[in-house]
């Protein structure tokens, strides 16, 4: 297992000037040994580029990659001793499950009985002991992905296991079982695991720390709690949570706080940073009242959606949509009704030029 330190950038063109020329903007990041990390972001945000740089399949155009302090930038994936599970199951069709699992050790000329013992252990952990002698080609997609994972785990000294959106081809109802298996394995083996995905449920469930990325930049690294409670960037606020944070323009003025050109008195326990230009509030924390209260904003109800487990009310504060989440049992407004939203409370976040200010 290894601690991975990145201090690099990767550009499409030889001498990049603008941000757009970079697949990965200059970044410095450390993946603790034994930690479970997720690289989360929309397609084209650079997460797979970063994974391929860590695995050694791609050389960064500038900077270094260090495993346990050693510079491995020029080293091949084999020399870095990493394992990778790809988007589509990659197995050796003509081999049985046992031969697939033992293949990396066979290439290292490890004695036969030691391979058999190790393969048995890993098969036990992957709950595939009963399939060892079956031909790998005939298995289902999720079992094939387990074999890919097993090929990495079978090496006792594997430095890190990398996942490139491994659940893409798995049936929806099987996904959570594979996620549970990955979490159990991480619990037992304490390996460094790095998981690339565009799906926040996979990222937040699997990883201790999630790296949220957009347009080639890591905008925040934190636990699920940090990303939910204190998004460091408006993109994280929007991306995490379904539906994500609602944002409103804000301006400190003599007569009080001007939010989307409504002047509102600020409750005592909430302190608004001077340089804040935008306010972000999650639908779960927004409270809605039929009549005006201190520190509330006037809004009109545009859409009410009964999503079964909760009611989603979309209001318009001067053309900016703001979403509120109500429990099925609580009071709900009617279409077009004028309501009052309590946007300022302990959970509200303030941003200046998209960056969190406290």
């Amino acid at each position: 297992m290894a601690e991975i330190k990145l201090d690099l950038a990767h550009a499409y063109k030889p001498n990049p000037q603008r941000d757009e020329d970079y697949a990965l903007l200059p970044l410095e990041m450390t993946f603790r040994d034994g930690g479970a990390y997720a690289l989360l972001g929309p397609s084209g945000c650079g997460k797979t580029t970063m994974l391929n740089i860590i695995s050694g399949l791609l050389q960064p155009s500038q900077g270094t990659v260090c495993f346990d302090g050693q510079d491995v930038t020029a080293r091949s994936p084999q020399q870095r001793n990493i394992a990778q599970v790809f988007q589509f199951p990659v197995i050796y069709d003509t081999m049985t499950v046992a031969q697939n699992l033992g293949f990396p050790l066979k290439n290292r000329k490890v004695p036969k009985e030691q391979i058999a013992k190790r393969v048995g252990e890993i098969a036990e952990m992957l709950e595939m002991s009963h399939q060892l002698d079956m031909r790998a080609a005939g298995l289902s997609a999720d079992q094939k992905q387990k074999i890919s994972l097993g090929r990495g785990l079978v090496r006792p000294d594997v430095s890190a296991v990398l996942f490139d959106e491994p659940l893409t081809v798995i049936d929806p109802h099987l996904k959570w079982q594979l996620r549970r298996k990955l979490k159990q394995i991480h619990h037992e083996l304490k390996l460094t695991l790095i998981y690339v995905t565009h799906d926040q449920v996979e990222a937040l469930t699997f990883a201790d720390e999630v790296v949220v990325m957009t347009r080639g930049r890591a905008v925040q690294v934190g636990t699920a709690e940090d990303l939910f409670e204190r998004p460091a960037h408006t993109f994280v606020g929007h991306f995490i949570g379904s539906p994500g944070m609602s944002f409103l323009p804000i301006q400190a003025s003599a007569s009080g706080m001007k939010i989307a050109d409504q002047v509102v008195t600020v409750p005592q326990q909430v302190s608004v940073p001077a340089q804040a230009t935008t306010l972000g509030i999650r639908p779960e924390y927004l409270r809605i009242f039929p009549n005006d209260q201190a520190g509330c904003l006037a809004a009109t109800v545009q859409l009410i959606q009964d999503v079964g487990t909760y009611i989603l009310v979309t209001c318009a504060v001067d053309q900016t949509p703001v979403r509120v989440r109500l429990s099925p049992q609580s009071w709900r407004p009617d279409m077009g009704e004028n309501v009052y939203l309590q946007v300022l409370d302990a959970h509200t976040c303030f941003y200046c030029e998209e960056e969190l200010v406290v």
């Binding site: 084999q78 990778q84 990659v90 069709d93 003509t94 090929r151």
Partner: protein, 294 residues
Amino acid sequence: MNNTDKPSNQKAWLLVLPVLICVAFSAILPLMTVVNYSVQDIFSPTRRIFVGTEWFTMVMRDSELHAALARQVTFSLSVLAVQIPLGVALALCMPASGWKASATLVLVALSLLIPWNVVGTIWQIFGRTDIGLLGHTLQQLGFDYSYTGNPTHAWVTVLIMDVWHWTPLVALLAYAGLRSIPDAYYQAARIDGASKWAVFRYIQLPKMRGVLMIAVLLRFMDSFMIYTEPFVLTGGGPGTSTTFLSQYLTQKAVGQFDLGPAAAFSIIYFLIILLFCFVLYNWMQNVGKSQQQG
């Protein structure tokens, strides 16, 4: 072609009709005449008598035909034995992408574009001891090589000519098979520390299986009906050492003009080809299917 979820629509027959008419005119009609001749003895267009399977039995017992068939089978098998491994090796050495790949592809495939008789002519010139580079060089090295005089020399030269002419087909098919392998397989192999041989044995060969089968069957059938190249190079000689089935049939049909045996033999020849076609057709089905599963 025929996976189940395609809608069935009998109107599609209208689209296929033109093909049927053309191919019927140029295939069924002639085949009927061949069958017609194979069961009759024709003295003149007006006088014919039905002889049943006499021609067939005669052809079956014709020792000369057996010799020609034996030569043909050995030739076709040796063609496979040389061209399949050579073609695969060539495909493995060809560059994967970029202009180098295109240039190599064109140079390698050039021999496939040359009219079959010109291939014969090229080797006819190339092999002559007086004016040919190959013949002259061998003679300088003190090796009295003559593809017109010595039967084994002739046979080997025809084989080398066929290898020179058709190996690129096997190489192209193998190359296409290699190109269909997703890059992730090579990455996984590198990560698992697989040796070059292991990569070939466990990734490239299994993926090329479907394509190679097509190459084997195509090459076997095409070589099984070879006519022009040996005819131009050695004219079937010296003696009958390089007279293969097609040439034997042509001599019988057009040369000695005894239609009965020639027609009977044509039918037998066609049935042999039909058998191999059946194997190729079924194999191509699962190539199509295995590609879908990917």
